[in-house]
């Protein structure tokens, strides 16, 4: 039916214009990123155009840059812990929000997504003022806590959306057959929830790994995460090394969700095949 939507002359013209602008927007979104990736293989000493030849020297230089490696490790483990903790909290919260009716539920639901709506600068200053008020130094714990707070809304929303689609009768059937509450959740709800759990964990990982503004406020003195390391390198110059670093980061943050998604797809396909065999 959509084809019929633009069948008059005016409609066809508008449709072509829409397609053209769409193409431009996609180019706009990816051109700078592609430029960075291309320039990371440029032999030139300067970080910009023109291209002078192919070289991997900036990657080699990156691998021997101790500061960058330390920042990478720091960001990696913070992102891992954030993903694990936030996903766990998200599952519990989504379960409560979807299955239960309780006074204050609407308010709580709004409160949970608030960290996504409050500008990071304000969240950053807020936590900092709080620990200053109780006379505590900035610590890794604070940075971690902040990242969990930032990722929580997204994780709850994703898990909640999936949980709504899982009918409670399945769990209740297990309960009436004598399963305990925890085992009915583990055996019935959790397996059905897996896609949302994986999606949440990946998103929480990227949110943490990528966080810049708030981390600038929260990081302990002398600690750099990957994005703050890039910022401080940019203050000196646009070196080709930064392009290489950017490309590595893109590979990590785009690669992990893509591989995760593909694995998940493969897993469901495998399970379906096994199920089909079992039934036959």
């Amino acid at each position: 039916m959509i084809a019929g939507q633009h069948q008059d002359k005016e409609g066809r013209w508008a449709w072509r214009l829409t397609g053209f602008i769409t193409l431009c927007v996609y180019i706009f979104m990816f051109a700078p990123i592609i430029a960075t990736v291309v320039l990371s293989f440029n032999a030139s000493m300067f970080g910009g155009f023109p291209l002078t030849g192919f070289s991997l020297q900036w990657y080699a230089k990156l691998l021997s840059n101790e500061q960058v490696l330390t920042a990478f490790r720091t960001s990696m483990w913070i992102a891992f812990v954030t993903a694990a903790v936030t996903t766990l909290l998200g599952i519990i919260t989504a379960y409560a929000l979807v299955r239960f009716e309780f006074p204050g539920k609407a308010t709580f639901g709004t409160l949970v997504i608030l960290p996504a709506l409050v500008p990071e600068t304000i969240l950053g200053v807020g936590l900092l003022v709080l620990i200053k008020a109780v006379d505590q130094p900035r610590s890794m714990g604070l940075l971690l806590l902040g990242h969990i707070l930032l990722a929580l809304p997204y994780v709850v929303l994703i898990t909640q959306a999936r949980m709504v689609g899982i009918r409670r009768t399945y769990e209740e059937a297990a309960l009436s057959l004598g399963a305990s509450r925890i085992s009915s959740f583990r055996e019935i709800t959790l397996p059905l929830l897996i896609p949302a759990v994986v999606a949440s964990a990946l998103l929480a990982f990227t949110i943490s790994f990528d966080n810049t503004s708030a981390s600038l406020f929260w990081r302990p003195a002398g600690v750099e995460t990957m994005p703050t390391q890039i910022l401080s390198m940019l203050k000196i110059s646009i070196s080709p090394e930064i392009n290489a670093l950017g490309t590595v980061m893109i590979l990590v943050t785009v690669g992990i969700p893509l591989v995760g998604g593909l694995m998940l797809q493969g897993l469901t396909r495998l399970r379906k095949r096994v199920d089909a065999k079992g039934n036959a």
Binding site: F28, E101, V125, V254
Partner: protein
């Protein structure tokens, strides 16, 4: 579970136990900090990094009377509003295209919209230097073609900041509008067409009004995120293009004037909160939730 003996299956008490950890986290590290920040705005600044709890209106007085701060606030609201409006205009087309296309691999177009969310924001922002900078692709190409003999100053301007913000916010806008378009009952449009509407009329009378909630949510989200931004003006703007977020950062991390920094944070929070409240009053919260969930 023994402790739930005598409790209903979906007992509210159990719900409270389940949400308790997250509630505690939000109370202690979201609401309490904002409250403490509110108190800090009345503290007395002594010297860099030092303040006393003697209560004063000095910070508020300084903010309300110094036009330096008003200029920052106005510029921030203006840049935020411009970014949000350009986002809406540019973002509507791709959202509509993805919704209406008969292209078989529509998922690919949607995936490409989500990929930028996975790419480091810092990298996406600084990559604009390769497009707009003196050694950027535009200047290098124009110089080579002999169209200019001096590189154009595009980087470190307000235009570059808005460009960077658009780059960051367009996927939010497109996804919000797309979600809204997806919820339209397509038979309504067929009906309008079969009743003799031209495609333009069908769009104006049916599709556009029904997609307004998504457009509204996208506008709010883009405005709030643009007005609260820190990294983009820092990387792509000159000192004159700094926004309110940069002002807050400099006040706290540079001048170590915590009471004033807290005052400015509360101001930004209240200003952006007013926009959000005005929006949710008319549109409700649900559209934003849909947009955030992708």
């Amino acid at each position: 579970m023994g402790m739930t003996k005598g409790w209903k299956l979906y007992d509210p008490r159990l719900a409270w136990m389940l949400v308790a950890p997250v509630l505690l986290l939000l109370l202690l590290f979201l609401l309490l900090p904002i409250a403490v920040m509110g108190v800090y705005t009345f503290f007395t600044f002594v010297t860099a990094g030092v303040e006393t709890s003697a209560l004063t209106f000095a910070n508020w007085k300084e903010f309300l009377t110094d036009s330096y701060y008003h200029g920052f606030l106005l510029k921030t609201v203006r840049v935020g509003a411009m970014t949000a409006i350009i986002c809406a205009v540019l973002g509507y087309f791709p959202a509509y295209f993805i919704w209406a296309t008969t292209f078989r691999h529509k998922w690919l177009l949607l995936l490409l919209l989500i990929v930028p969310f996975w790419i480091s924001f810092t990298i996406r922002t600084f990559s604009w230097i390769h497009i707009l900078g003196e050694q950027g692709i535009i200047n290098v190409t124009l110089l080579k073609l002999g169209l200019i003999d001096q590189p154009l100053q595009m980087l470190y301007t307000e235009g570059a900041v808005i460009m960077g913000l658009l780059h960051f916010l367009l996927p939010y806008m497109i996804l919000n509008v797309y979600v809204s378009l997806e919820s339209i009952d397509r038979t309504l449009i067929s009906a309008a067409r079969s009743m003799g509407c031209t495609s333009a009329q069908a769009f104006r009378e049916v599709t556009l009004p029904l997609s307004l909630p998504g457009l509204g949510a996208g506008l709010l989200l883009c405005f709030v995120l643009a007005a609260g931004s820190y990294v983009t003006p820092q990387l792509l703007g000159s000192g004159r293009d700094a926004l309110f977020g940069n002002l807050i950062y400099d006040t706290i991390m540079g001048q170590l004037n915590w009471p004033m920094g807290a005052t400015l944070s509360i101001v930004l929070f209240v200003v952006l909160g007013c926009f959000a409240a005005a929006y949710t009053r008319y549109m409700g919260m649900s559209q934003i939730v849909k947009g955030l969930g992708g």
